[in-house]
Symmetry: C2
DNA sequence: GGGACATTTGCAACATTATTGCAAATTTCC
DNA sequence: GGAAATTTGCAATAATGTTGCAAATGTCCC
């Protein structure tokens, strides 16, 4: 059985065409995907609404998480290993390349410690680094 | 002459009602503002388009900058002191409170050093921390 | 202060993106 | 294989963002 099916079953999700296809896109992509990317890649095979709902379901189950962006897009990326469903408390470093505009999830980069002012409690930290990626240098 | 007018003149912008009002909102807000917040605060005094264009102008001039968010909203916050117009290479730490949902720009928090993989060049770093703020604890 | 010129605003129309309800189709489970 | 639960697609609607252009406002100089 494929890893793909494992993920869906483990999260008690019905195995449907759209979910398989969209999950496959994430598994084959090193970067992050936006709704628009998915619609383009699936070439209209699935309704816009289905894509929205699939992404939402994946986020709720902790299969993917979303990445902060400075424009008004929403980027999604696979959660590696064991994200808690609905309670994603991991820390991430994301890199956005100014040249190719791709967003890459840097799993292996250690998150730095942020010292907050008194009274603030830290739960999740997202770091968004922009610059030039290895491929574009 | 107010600080407000200074800012506008320094950036060679015509002093108009909407710009004064919107800039004032930022000066009086410790947190970040979204387009919707501004429309609500101005109570429809200005056209939706005017607000969009004003924000865009302020960003271009380096008066405000936008903050990464995980939803599809765009948040703006004042740039303290001297941001380069159009080339905002500063680093920021932003805090989003899970309780009151406010975004606070933590100017005085030092940005941590992020070690990137080989081949990556770092230009700007944004850190988004979520948790509970001092007021909500 | 008045008038010419430049800038900005508001309206209208349009484009894009996201959400909801509901019936039809698909999946799951026994 | 068939009933029950889940998911999909359509249609309608809402929310958000953009563009062109004429009218209004602001700036500058005399």
């Amino acid at each position: 059985m494929e890893a793909l099916l494992n993920i869906l079953k483990k999260n008690q999700l019905s195995v449907t065409e759209s979910r398989k296809k969209i999950l496959e896109l994430f598994l084959n992509s090193e970067g992050a995907l936006a709704h628009a990317d998915i619609e383009k890649s699936t070439d209209g095979s699935y309704d816009r609404v289905t894509v929205y709902r699939t992404l939402q379901t994946f986020v709720e189950k902790g299969i993917i998480h979303n990445i902060p962006t400075t424009d008004n897009s929403i980027l999604y990326a696979l959660c590696k290993d064991n994200c808690e469903a609905g309670h994603h408390h991991d820390n991430h470093v994301h890199f956005i390349c100014d040249v190719c505009d791709k967003t890459i999830c840097l799993e292996h980069v250690s998150i730095p410690e942020v010292k907050l002012p008194k009274g603030f409690t830290q739960k999740q930290t997202d770091v968004v680094v922009s610059g030039i990626c290895d491929a574009c240098k």
